[in-house]
């Protein structure tokens, strides 16, 4: 058995680690490229959202490298994601590509099915071995997420553009190669030192921008046209509403156990949106409020074109923006999204944020001068 999985940010690092610890061979799909997109747009329905297209591209490229089994997450709720695995399976079957698909979804009571699927991919490993592999993978994931937050801080302040991004690629490699928990800790430590060694600018004219929206476009740089890097190199520190480890904790673990940790999001969004709309639509509202309250300069919403939960959020955000006094800009992404067009809008958005900040400072000074 050779297992593969879709790309989503640095998800491949913990997944490869998990399966190789259990002695299962894995094939990481090649990094998302033009070819991935070309496969996806050719074989997926045009009006499916972008994540599905990229998934299909990933699977076809992995199959070429010898993968025979795909692990795919499932989902529940109004978002179309819950149906992806099934549609993808049909597409692969129609193409005559021999890939077995194992779908892991929140059990909703069907624990036996989840167990059965897990066993199908973990082979004969004992529970203890699974636990150990899981712990190592989880630590890699949380280490990467911690370092990524630091990356965002450093990138906005680096003296030489590109330093932080280069360091980050190195860090992902180190963590990918770590084979034990202690090696992972060592790699994380090295990574922190690596980022700390980057020379930073003294002036602190850094804008702070929160990024909200649909999880896949948020986490996969190849799909969001590397919006975080582009912003970072413009001197903008970004903060994201979703990190991979948070999502695993909330959706895969807590929700499966019928526990919640999102009551605060519901409470914050309540004046604008009173119920779940699928995906992270509600979080796009609540996090915009959070960012406004913590003094961020602006908010960027990302979503794949035709994403229903985020369309709901998009139509509510102008009101949140007005009430909270924080500028918001939306990018709907698909295979036609252009890097040049996005850069133009991002530059103009940053000009707008800088000018607002200058005005705020000016009026503050005027207030201080008054008795």
């Amino acid at each position: 058995m050779k297992i593969t999985f879709p790309h989503m940010g640095h998800l491949h690092v913990p997944l490869r680690s998990f399966f190789s610890r259990l002695g299962v061979e894995t094939v990481v799909p090649p990094p998302i490229s033009q070819e991935t997109m070309a496969f996806g747009t050719r074989y997926a329905p045009e009006f499916a959202c972008l994540p599905l297209k990229v998934n299909v591209g990933n699977f076809l490229q992995a199959a070429r490298l010898g993968a025979d089994t795909v692990i795919m997450a499932g989902g529940i709720g109004p978002c179309r994601f819950g149906y992806y695995a099934q549609v993808e399976q049909e597409i692969l079957r129609d193409l005559g590509v021999d890939l077995k698909m194992v779908v892991l979804e929140p059990p909703q009571g069907h624990w036996r099915e989840l167990w059965h699927n897990l066993r199908a991919i973990t082979g004969r490993a004992s529970l203890k071995e699974i636990w150990r592999a899981g712990r190592l993978a989880w630590r890699k994931l949380t280490a990467l997420d911690e370092l990524e937050r630091e990356l965002h801080r450093v990138r906005a302040r680096e003296v030489t553009p590109g330093d932080a991004s280069r360091a980050w690629r190195q860090i992902v490699d180190w963590l990918d190669q770590a084979e034990t928990l202690s090696e992972t800790e060592e790699a994380a430590h090295l990574g922190r030192a690596h980022l700390a060694a980057i020379p930073l600018r003294e002036d602190d004219d850094v804008l702070r921008v929160g990024i909200v929206g649909e999880i896949y476009t948020l986490l996969e740089p190849a799909v969001n046209l590397e919006v975080e890097r582009v912003l970072g190199e413009m001197g903008v520190e970004v903060e994201r509403s979703i990190y991979l480890s948070d999502w695993v904790k909330t959706n895969l673990v807590l929700h499966s156990l019928h526990l919640r940790n999102d009551r605060e999001e519901y409470r914050l969004a309540a004046p604008y949106l009173g119920h779940f709309v699928g995906g992270h639509g509600l979080e796009s509202i609540s996090f915009t409020i959070r960012y406004a309250r913590s003094g961020f300069d602006g908010v960027i919403q990302l979503a794949p074109l035709t994403c229903m939960p985020e369309i709901v959020a998009e139509s509510i955000l102008p009101k949140v923006s007005r009430d909270m006094g924080i500028p918001v800009i939306t990018f709907m992404l698909d295979e036609h999204a252009s890097e040049v067009g996005m850069r133009t809008r991002l530059e103009a958005f940053c000009d707008l944020l800088r000018e607002r900040r200058r005005q705020k400072k000016r009026s503050q000074r005027a207030k201080e001068l008054l008795p």
Binding site: P161, R166, R229, P327, R345, E355, R356
Partner: protein, 324 residues
Amino acid sequence: MRAYLGLDVGSVSTNLVLLNENGEVVTGLYLRTQGNPIRAVQEGLAQMEKQIPAGMSIAGAGTTGSGRQLAATMVGADAVKNEITAHAVAALNELPKVQTVLEIGGQDSKIIILRQGVVVDFAMNTVCAAGTGSFLDRQAARLGVPIEEFGSLAERAQNPVRIAGRCAVFAESDMIHKQQLGYPVEDIVAGLCEALVRNYLNNVAKGKDIQAPILFQGGVAANVGMRRAFEKALGFPVIVPRYHAVMGALGAALLAKRAVAGRHSTRFRGFDVSRWRFDVSSRSCGGCGNQCEVVEILGEGKLLARWGDRCGRWSSFVLEAAGK
């Protein structure tokens, strides 16, 4: 006397503006890019060189438009800015109290909302180019009306016909249909203007708080029919600035003036650039799976810039060289 050069290199037109120290326009040029921005920039510089009054020298240069990076590399620019900011700067210079800028160019359209002299919101067309200059050009040609007379023809209309304006292709077939039903051409032309304005307000300006004073900029602002249609739909007077067609370049020149304020040097390479030989090559980098398309710009055989890579492997080379 010090002068400032602004270049706006767009998909359809390449515009140049020369400003004097007081921020007044000395010369404005409007050229067709015709898919060759390098030639358009060189042609513009050559014309500008002929028109520049004696005793005037370039103290700063700025670029904007989708070709701003390329133009900046070629001519040497002190300011490189996106077209939204450039248009806003030019609008504020024209009318400091402006609250809304409608801009329709060759292939894009935008709206900029300003309050107290600051941009607070903006949008650009994303999905469709119906309603932009290229489409109007095409329809004028199809009806056999010179584009310059298109607007005044629309003004003579008694009963503008309702045209489906959502999509350029459907608008065209709807117009043909109305012609075949025998509607007078001026009613169709006026109907088209109204349809395009409706399309703009429903797409680009969707959800934006449009307040007077309103400036209408870009090449399409020359069209009186479009201006009237905007006034009719918005219920406010719409002002078309004198240099409406070159406002982006004007903004770039103003930004250049700001950038070099207090300095006595400019990055501008001089008008000789119009006679340089420029070479462009592109190739796909095989360094990783991203397979970025890397572009190289050479001027007189010397490497000026590289871009298109995500990792900085190629573009940083030029940064380093410039640093030394």
